[in-house]
């Protein structure tokens, strides 16, 4: 099969893109058509001062669209799903790793996704698993407070998981208005009047909680503290299942993070 383009060769160049998925796909386009595998692909804000050749890749929606269409047709639908999910993950150097996966996929086709033992594929699958697991955990760990009839919550996940929990919460609270603010990624899922959207927001200040809200929070804390069996205390087990980095947003355990501050 001589018509197939060979894998891009490693090159001493760093691609800079704007952080969007289309921007990333433009980088893929650039890589395939110049036949070079860049040393790194970085967001604009992370651009380093270095002697290596740095190339800014402009986001080009036409090029992006061509790459987007090529993934399901040349590799598989599963590959598309994997790529979009991993792009939202906190995997280090995710852009480069996805690019390597795509270059290999263009050569090998859809069966690549079933090579679960392959190092490139396994890295992406692990990142995907990490993200989906975090999304699943947060379906449980999000704590809403009722402020004037609307529900508000803040989260600090490692991955960008809002798109993966949006449907769940929209279906669960279809008659409510709510907002989940993701502090890590500075975005918020806002649902009101039957419409949900994800917005970029730098910060949100939540209003003071009402007396009624404080009552339910106290009831919940009391329930939480009562339901544990004293003879079986197991802090390690609790931390395995509910890692401490989630505690700051969970009212029943947030006090435990800073015991000194407790009055």
């Amino acid at each position: 099969m001589s018509g197939i383009k060979p894998l891009a060769a490693p090159a001493d160049v760093i691609y800079i893109y704007d952080g969007s998925f289309d921007g990333f796909l433009s980088c893929v386009f650039e890589s395939v058509y110049s036949g070079e595998l860049p040393f790194a692909i970085l967001r604009e804000e992370d651009a380093p001062l270095t002697l290596i050749d740095v190339r800014a890749i402009l986001t080009d929606s036409v090029k992006a669209e061509r790459v987007r269409a090529s993934i399901p047709s040349k590799i598989s639908g599963r590959a598309m799903e994997l790529v979009t999910t991993v792009f939202c993950s906190c995997l280090e150097k995710k852009e480069l790793k996805i690019l390597e996966f795509l270059l290999q996929g263009y050569r090998e086709g859809g069966k690549l996704c079933f090579k679960l033992g392959d190092a490139v594929v396994a890295t992406l699958l692990d990142a995907e698993k990490h993200l989906l697991r975090e999304a699943h955990l947060l379906k449980g760990f999000v704590r809403f407070a009722d402020v004037g009839g609307a529900l508000v919550a803040a989260i600090t996940p490692k991955n960008y998981i809002l798109p993966f929990i949006a449907e769940h919460f929209v279906l669960r609270y279809d008659n409510e208005q709510f907002m989940i603010f993701d502090k890590t990624n500075k975005t918020a899922l806002v649902y009101q009047n039957g419409k949900a959207e994800i917005l970029r927001i730098d910060y949100v200040t939540f209003p003071e909680i009402s007396e009624n809200e404080a009552r339910y929070q106290a009831l919940w804390k009391q329930f939480y503290n009562t339901i544990a069996i004293e003879g079986r205390e197991n802090p390690r087990c609790r931390m395995t299942h509910m890692p401490k980095r989630y505690w700051e947003n969970m009212l029943e355990v947030s006090d435990l993070l800073h015991p000194a501050r407790e009055r």
Partner: protein, 438 residues
């Protein structure tokens, strides 16, 4: 009495119920099919449901129970409206996935069940609540009430409490074996009928769509582990239970028929029972393979799967490139997920050790039991190394105290905690002991 006080008393009385799962109900958004944990309490158990009793007043006098009639404790009861509202408000704030409702028996079983049905009815049809509901049926309630409860709840459960009829007679004189197993059978039959009707008619009423579960107390009565897992296996088969829960007995009341108040709950034993339970449900093991009348109790140092592997070395090594899924599942270090992934991955080329590592098999254990394209290397591992890799690392965190609870039950070939000073020493002795018997 205000709500805070009631909640405290009634959650406190409900906490010994092990089950808190919310899996098996499929209403997108309202429930999560795989279940969803909302928090974990200080004892490391998942909090998924608002687990409370309707009331802790009880006319029964089961010896092991904190709520028994003769126990002098504070009593309270929720009104149906109060409990429904609390559930809704907790659910709105995403504290919980739903309600787990059990109750002490007031007046008689039927009256108690009617109270519970009232709460569920309020939730479902007045507040339009479609979150998860797990309800306990009261032994001795009429079949018609069990039926009504099943049409409102996602999961029903009825506790067998103690693993044999003799123990039940001795410790729970008001509960008859018949009163436990006849509703269990009824639930099994009605759920099956409901599933068949749903095939024909989409809107047929759903009866306990998430199935039924049960719980038994471990360590309050003298049954062996072999008896317990055989009973569990029988119930899984006969009544199509989704889960059997095991609850290490925590002395809560003084009674001459029970372990002393300062006795420690047998947590490691409970852990082994759950591991065995998992082997029966997910790995295709039969109870008879895990334990036998000759060795009726678990090995405290090895999990049941490793224990089986050591006693069946003739089955190994298993070739990961050709073995059936069921065979792969028997290899220590390969679980259901990695077994399935191996089967998928090997269609696209032979697997070596590097691939297995990427797939997620635990090679620390699996390496002694498999053949792969570049494995094993020529040198045979020593028996000692094999055994050492299999020792359950968890026993270090469970500690000496838990091991000592096995003292009188383990087979004679394992060191007893009397002979050794530290847990490391005990493990070393066990390694030598097991290695020599290989």
């Amino acid at each position: 009495m205000d709500l805070m006080e009631k909640l405290t008393i009634l959650a406190d009385s409900a906490k010994y119920d092990a089950a808190c799962t919310s899996s098996g109900a499929n209403r997108p958004g309202k429930t999560v099919p795989s279940g969803c944990c909302h928090s974990f309490s200080a004892d490391g158990r998942c909090i998924s449901l608002l687990k409370v009793l309707m009331t802790n007043y009880c006319i029964y006098d089961c010896k092991y129970c904190v709520n028994r009639a003769s126990n002098d404790c504070r009593r309270a009861a929720f009104t149906p409206e109060e409990l429904a509202e609390l559930t809704i408000e907790f659910y709105r704030r995403n504290y919980i996935e739903g309600l787990f409702l059990s109750s002490g028996v007031i007046r008689n079983p039927d009256y108690t069940m009617e109270q519970m049905i009232q709460v569920l009815h309020l939730l479902r049809y007045k507040h339009n609540f479609w979150g998860y509901i797990h309800a306990k049926t009261i032994p001795g309630a009429s079949p018609e009430l069990v039926r009504r409860l099943g049409l409102l709840a996602d999961r029903l459960s009825i506790n067998v409490e103690l693993p044999s009829e003799q123990s039940l007679l001795r410790l729970a004189p008001n509960k008859k074996r018949e009163a436990i197993f006849s509703p269990m059978k009824q639930i099994c039959i009605e759920a099956e009928q409901s599933r068949q009707e749903l095939v024909v008619y989409k809107k047929a009423p759903k009866f306990a769509p998430a199935g039924q579960a049960t719980q038994m107390i471990i360590g309050a009565s003298p049954e062996t582990d072999y008896q317990i897992i055989n009973l569990a296996e029988a119930m899984y088969g006969k009544y199509a239970l989704k889960r059997v829960f095991y609850s290490a007995y925590i002395p809560a009341v003084e009674d001459s028929l029970l372990p002393a108040l300062d006795a420690k709950p047998p947590l490691l034993r409970e852990h082994r029972l759950y591991q065995a339970d998992w082997l029966m449900r997910q790995y295709g093991f039969a109870a008879e393979e895990i334990l036998s009348p000759e060795t009726p109790n678990f090995n405290p140092y090895l999990d049941p799967k490793c224990n089986w592997a050591i006693n069946n070395m003739q089955e190994f090594p298993v070739d990961v490139n050709t073995a059936e899924l069921e065979t792969l599942l028997r290899v220590p270090g390969i679980g259901p997920t990695s077994a399935r992934r191996i089967v998928i991955a090997r269609r696209n080329g032979r697997l070596g050790i590097a691939e297995l590592k990427n797939i997620g098999a635990v090679l620390k254990r699996a390496q002694y039991f498999i053949r792969a394209s570049d494995w094993p290397p020529s040198a045979q591992p020593s028996k000692e190394m094999t055994v050492r890799a299999l020792i359950d690392p968890n026993i270090y965190s469970f500690g000496m105290e838990q091991l000592s609870l096995f003292q009188d039950m383990t087979g004679s070939r394992l060191p007893t905690t009397r002979d050794v000073k530290s847990i490391t020493e005990a493990v070393e002795e066990t390694v030598l002991c097991l290695a020599s018997s290989l």
